[in-house]
Symmetry: C2
Amino acid sequence: MKTDRLLTPDALEAALRDIGAERYHIHHPFHKKLHGGELNRAQVQAWALNRYYYQAMIPVKDATLMARFPTAEERREWRRRVVDHDGDGQSIGGVGRWMKLAEGVGLDPDHVRAGAGILPATRFAVDAYVAFVRDRSLVEAVASSLTELFSPVIIAERVSGMLANYDWITKDTLAYFTPRLTQARQDSDWALAYVMAHASTPEAQQAVLAALRFKCDVLWAQLDALHHAYVVPGLIPPGAFCPEI
Amino acid sequence: MKTDRLLTPDALEAALRDIGAERYHIHHPFHKKLHGGELNRAQVQAWALNRYYYQAMIPVKDATLMARFPTAEERREWRRRVVDHDGDGQSIGGVGRWMKLAEGVGLDPDHVRAGAGILPATRFAVDAYVAFVRDRSLVEAVASSLTELFSPVIIAERVSGMLANYDWITKDTLAYFTPRLTQARQDSDWALAYVMAHASTPEAQQAVLAALRFKCDVLWAQLDALHHAYVVPGLIPPGAFCPEI
């Protein structure tokens, strides 16, 4: 939605949600195959392995962003995200829970942690996300997190579909996703309010819309690379994870 | 080739050349289709459009690297690359010649210059290359340029194959490649000698080998993204160039 005029809050929120409706990776064929039970164990392993790199970099991304807020209140708000992903030493965080998922689908945790065999395209996309929150304006950096507006639906599809369609995946393996449903809602409420309050010119509004498109690209490119390497045409780049099947 | 011992100069050069033999994008099916005449005009346009972004960022990459050399002699050597790509205001540089190529295959130069419709994966990979030469050690940054050791062969294949197989491509359109044959040889001779002189520990030698693998990944990921979007399965990401055919 292009405009030179200032959008009303409702119109801005609608434009943000339109981007999700068009570009969120819930529309990617790899996601459809994943929750539809059409992938084999090795393809699910490739997904878990590559996605681990994304998960592991999320607290790095959030710490980078947190460091840029000028007030303690804002940093505290964002710090909750870092705690959610890194844990607090007592309870396991999101990254640790994703490792349980990777182990649950049969991967060696040391390999996963080392990032051995992840697709270069995964690393390029994820690193672009960290660079974006470091280099762009603060309101664009916050806006890039707004894919969380759309994540409850994809998580619900993924969990119900994977439990129904793969008998080697247990509820325990997918425990990562349960707290994400409430965390993402709380996080995106705050981020959306922040964006509404701070994108106060037509230029800033267009910039936050572009930031959300960028983030959708980051997610989409990760599934593209998985699809291309492990589904169709199955062209695994040199050095990447080769399933033994 | 993994080792904890210091490689002889010959062994180090052989290990660098082995990486090219295994991982250079000359082995990618998109390259084979391109020079083999198996692509349609729109697919060649997608290649020219996306590769323009890479070409346009090369002098940015080289300026970033040049700024890190401690001596005038080294900076002068590297400056030649920037001149080769940016031109000198009299003679056209490599980026300008690539634009001629893009126009020659039917693209609008304003669209190409704006990067409209390039694949997000292209941007992520190219930006990763610029970040690499900024953030890694100087010898790793120089080593990442060593894919030029392998470029004369791919250029020869590309030019002869494209002229033979596409009657809508002229020698003039491919003028970009002619000076690259001598420039790349001169550049890679210097860079190889630099790497030999400066990678003086086993750790540094392993790091330069990894740097060249990284650069091969950058090139490979670009052809992967093109192949996936425009050849097989033809899954164009939201917002990317859609040929009207």
